[in-house]
Structure formats: C-alpha cells, structure tokens
C-alpha cells in the first residue's frame, strides 16, 4: 500500500513541475498560436541560468530560480522581437507554421550551443534543502517538496494574473482575435512579446526548479517538452487550470501505471506511454481536452 502511496505522491510532485512547463507552453500557444518546439530548451536554459546565478552570486537557491525566470523572460522577449515578431507582417502567408520552424531551429540551436558552452559534464545547483520529509510511510525529498510547492504558487499566481489583471485580460483577448484586440486598443504584437517572455520565464522557472533534483544537461528539456505537450492538450489548450489538472493527472497515471502493471520491466518502459494513452482516451471522449474551450465561431 505504502508503495502505491509513494508512487502517487512522487507522480504528483513531478506532474506539478511539468504542469509549470506546460503552462508556459499553453500561454505561448494560445496567444501566438505557435506550437513552441523550443520550449524544452528554454527549460534547459532556465536550469543553467539558475546554476550560474547561484554559483556566481552565492545567492540562496530559490533566489536563483527567480533570477532564472527573469533571465529567461528577457531572453524570450528578445528572441520574440528579433525572430518571431517580424513574421507578423501581412507578407507571411501561414505564420503559425513558419513559427514552428523558427522554434524548431531554436531548440536545435540551444541544445547544441548548450553542449558547446556549458560543456558535456553534468552540473547541478545546490539543493534547496537536503534531506527528505518522512511522514510514516511517506518519503518526500525536500527538494521535490519545495519545487512542487513553488510550482503551485507560480501556477496559482499565473492563473490570477490572467484572470484578474488587465494585462492578463489583454493576453486572453489577443489569443482570440488579434484584429479585434487592436480595435479595442490592445497592441497585439506587444502581447505576443509579453506572452513569449512569460512562457519562457515559466519554462525557465520549471527548469530551475528541476535542476537540483535531476541535475543539468543540455538535453534535459527533451522529455519534459513532450510531457508538457501532452499536459496542455489533456487539460485543454489555453487553460492554466487545465495545465494544473493535466499535470497532476499525468503524474498520477504515470506513477500508478508503473505500480499496477505486473511485469516490472515493461511497466517502467511504458511509464511515458501511460500519459500518452491517457491523452488519447481523453481526446476521444472530449475532443477539446478536459477544460478546453470548445470551438466557437462568430455568427
């Protein structure tokens, strides 16, 4: 029993951190309509950013996380302005698809630049807190606990930001119609930049939170990127709440899937597949994910 409890808790924690990654991805998708292939490498950059901030400035690890988010926000903004924004002219026929290429290029560029710049040897920022929380049968390393709690705080903050602030509403408006947003005085291109910056910051934050847990490597973003894709669709595109729910669900299903499949080796090999299967089943029942907006057209 305690075995399943442990698996569930572990899945939950990892799921929450991936949810943070997913929230950034869904934000970028819903506002820019860009499926950001580069999200995993932004996550990776965030991890390294926090590492260098912490080791160079000798600040506490959580400050490093905050610093990484700021750094990635700036990176996202600059990248969007330099490379993505110029595509939003009327010259470009199918912006969304072209943006995919740009972000795909970004991920190839960053992963390999990471290899050259950060070197091939593993790095890891210091723990948030060493040791583990032990409650009866439950063992939860503090690093994971703190990362999960921080992720929740960031996610709730993001949800509130999008719901309550006027900037958040503007992002939502632009996500539905760029032209209509301009009609009511919102600069859509600026919102694109903001959304990409925020999305990058969230990816970076997630990477920074993971860094002490899984260590850093230039390819650390590959797996979470796929997971994040699954989570956003599971929860429903454009919904932060959906990302949270999707992340938790994914974590639990993957954790427990491992536990319940009798053949241990198969079970482990199929860990990722459980999440994907969950997604497939969900979409067959609800074609817009759990909390996705159904398709509405203006009549």
């Amino acid at each position: 029993m305690s075995y399943f409890l442990l698996l569930a808790v572990n899945g939950l924690v990892i799921g929450l951190i991936y949810a943070l990654t997913a929230a950034g991805l869904t934000l970028v998708f819903s506002v820019l309509k860009v499926v950001n292939f580069g999200h995993g490498s932004l996550y990776m950059l965030g991890g390294y950013a926090s590492y260098y901030i912490i080791t160079a400035l000798h600040v506490p690890p959580l400050v490093g996380v905050a610093g990484a988010m700021v750094a990635l926000f700036i990176f996202g903004v600059v990248f969007e302005r330099l490379v993505i924004a110029p595509m939003y002219t009327d010259k470009v026929e199918r912006k969304d698809e072209y943006a995919i290429i740009v972000t795909f290029g970004l991920t190839i560029l960053l992963t390999n630049l990471g290899l050259v710049v950060f070197g091939p040897f593993a790095k890891s920022p210091p723990s948030f807190m060493t040791g583990a929380l032990i409650l009866g049968p439950l063992i939860l390393p503090y690093d994971r606990l703190i990362a999960a709690v921080t992720a929740v705080v960031l996610l709730v903050g993001l949800a509130l930001f999008l719901k309550r602030t006027s900037l958040g509403q503007a992002l939502d408006a632009v996500s539905q119609s760029r032209e209509s947003a301009a009609v009511i005085g919102i600069d859509p291109l600026r919102m694109y930049t903001v959304a990409f910056g925020l999305g990058s910051a969230l990816a970076g934050g997630a990477g920074a939170l993971i860094a002490p847990i899984f260590a850093l490597s230039p390819s650390m973003g590959d797996l979470p990127a796929v997971q994040a894709f699954i989570i956003i669709v599971l929860g429903g595109m454009g919904s932060v709440g959906g990302s949270i729910a999707g992340g938790i669900l994914l974590g639990l299903v993957q954790g427990l899937g491992v536990g319940y499949l009798p053949d241990p080796n198969r079970a482990l090999a199929y860990t990722q597949a459980f999440g994907a299967l969950l997604l497939v089943v969900t979409l067959l029942v609800r074609p817009t994910g759990l909390f996705g907006r159904s398709h509405l057209r203006l009549e």
């Binding site: 290429i101 795909f104 290029g105 560029l109 796929v226 199929y270 597949a273 497939v280």
Partner: protein, 327 residues
C-alpha cells in the same frame, strides 16, 4: 490549383535530370549515400505536405508511420521468416489499415488537438518499440537485411529517387482531381465543405491512408537501406525535422517539400565538418531561412523566374470593369 507555371515545371525537370545524372557523374559513394537518405526525408516531407499543407491535418505521427513500415517489414523477415516482397507488402498494408484507423479516430479533432493526439499515438508506438524488446530489440536496434547485393549505394539511390518521383507524381495527380479541391476545402472550413456536399469523413480518411502508406514505404526503404532500425526514428525531433523540411520548401507544393528535404538534409551533412558547432549552425540556418524567406524557398524560386503577375486578374482590372458598368 494546378497553376504550376511553365518555369516551375522546367526547374523541376532540370532538378530531376540533375538528380538522375549526379551519381554517375561521380559525386562519389559518400554523397550517393547521403542522397539516398535524403530521398527518405523527401518522401516523408512531401507526403506530410499533402497531409498538413493541403488537407490541413497537422499530424505528428508521420515519422511513426515510417517506423511502422520499416519495423513491420524487418520483423516479418527476422521473426517470421517471410520472404522480402511479402514483408514489404505486410508493412504497406499495415500502414494502410493503421492510417485509416487514425484518420477515423481524429475525425472530431482539429488544430493542436489533432497534432498532439497524433503525437501521443506516435509516442505510445515508440514506447512499444522500446519496451517490447524481446520482439523488436528495442534500443538495441533491429538489423535489417539489404535489398540489393554488394555494397554500392547506387541502387538504393535510384530506388529512392524513383519512389520520390512516383509518390510526388501520384499525389500531384490526386491533387489535380476533385479530391485535391475537397481536401483544401476541408482544410479551410470543414463545416462549409460538408454543407457543399463533400463527404469530409471519407476524404479525411483517404488522405491519412495515402500519406501513411507513402510514409511507410519511406520507412521500409530506409530500413532496408540503412540496415538497422531503432525506435528513435520516431522521436519528436525527427518529426520536427520533417516539418521543417516541408515548410522550408513551401508546404503547399509537393516538389517544394522535396526540395526542402534535400536542401535541409544536404545542409546538415555539409555542416558536418564544423564538428560540435554543426547543429548550432543548423539551428541558426533554420531560423535565418525562416526569418528571411518566410514563405519557404520554393515560392521564392518560382517568383524569381516568373514574369511579373500573369494570369491573375487583379483588382485593378476589376475596378476598370466596374467603371465600365458605372459609365
């Protein structure tokens, strides 16, 4: 649609000639090998362009279909000892059936939901390839027998080229019929297409079947050529590469996608001498091409060659007519 200008047909002919002649003109075994791999990507990119560019079905399972074909054929030989032609047919039929199945499953899905549904399917399939190690050899890699005796890559090169020409010609023929029109109508507005009497279900499934079969053929070709298959041929970055190729070539042109695939693959090969910087440059090149050739390379090629505006009545002539009415 079949507005392919005289030039573009001429360029295509010239490029095709070049593709046929280059190996015998002595580009050497290495570049022949590279070219043969490029045909694999060209098949994938062109069929994906049909699926995504024309029919609007942004499937991310395309490389998984290549893996399906490749593995099916290889496993038929390795595990069941079937003769090669039968194995290949099994691979193709399997892709046909699976393509129809996926086409039917995604009927209600659109946009990112379709894309990521297919990604999930593709991941599950890849996971199976990894996990069912006893059968597929998983990450160890599955050895595949060759198609031709000897160690020259030339026969593969011409086989690949032939497949590309056949596939593109076949798909272009399909596009020139009413099916092409319907596929684009489905891409634009499925509801309106249905209201216009188009059986959208049928055509969506059809396009999945056609493109899946081509992808599977590509995979079969690749497996028997390379001699080893691993589940990694269906990872997301591979899919991304195919998308990049199709889009860079111009997603609404099948020859464009072929050109895109060849250009991107040759680029990545020729950057090899830059060692660890190779992929950095590759990423940079992708970004820059996109930044400055935003509608893809093929349209640019076409534009260069085409005399300014032909055959398209413009609003200018429109207003002249209007004046006549008014007068």
């Amino acid at each position: 649609m079949t507005r392919s200008s005289l030039f573009s047909r001429a360029t295509q002919a010239i490029l095709l000639m070049a593709a046929v002649l280059l190996p015998v003109l002595g580009i050497g075994p290495y570049w022949t090998h590279v070219g043969a791999i490029a045909w694999y990507y060209a098949l994938l990119a062109a069929s994906w362009a049909l699926l995504a560019g024309f029919a609007g079905q942004f499937s991310f399972a395309h490389v998984a279909f290549a893996a399906l074909g490749g593995y099916a054929s290889a496993l038929c030989i390795a595990r069941f000892g079937l003769p090669l032609p039968i194995a290949i047919i099994v691979g193709i039929v399997l892709a046909m059936v699976t393509g129809a199945l996926i086409g039917a499953l995604v009927l209600r899905l659109s946009g990112p939901y379709l894309a990521l549904f297919t990604l999930a399917i593709s991941e599950i399939f890849r996971m199976m390839l990894i996990a069912e190690e006893d059968f597929t050899r998983g990450m160890l890699g599955l050895p595949v027998p060759g198609l031709f005796p000897g160690r020259s890559d030339l026969p593969y090169y011409y086989l690949g080229l032939g497949l590309v020409v056949l596939a593109v010609a076949g798909m272009n023929w399909l596009l020139a019929t009413r099916v092409g029109l319907f596929l684009r109508a489905i891409r634009e507005d499925e509801g309106a297409a249905r209201a216009s009497g188009v059986d959208t279900t049928r055509y969506k499934i059809l396009v999945f079947v056609v493109t899946s079969v081509i992808a599977a053929i590509a995979g079969i070709y690749y497996g028997h050529f390379i001699g080893i298959l691993t589940p990694n041929m269906a990872i997301l970055p591979e899919m991304g590469l195919v998308v990049a190729m199709a889009v860079i070539g111009g997603i609404e042109s099948l020859p464009g996608a072929v050109i895109g695939a060849v250009v991107v693959y040759l680029l990545s090969e020729s950057l090899r001498s830059y060692g660890e910087w190779r992929f950095v440059l590759m990423g940079l090149a992708l970004i820059l091409v996109q930044r400055f050739a935003q509608n893809g390379l093929f349209p640019i090629l076409e534009q260069w060659s085409r005399p300014r505006r032909i055959g398209r009545s413009t609003a200018k002539t429109a207003s002249i007519k209007e004046e006549r009415h008014a007068g």
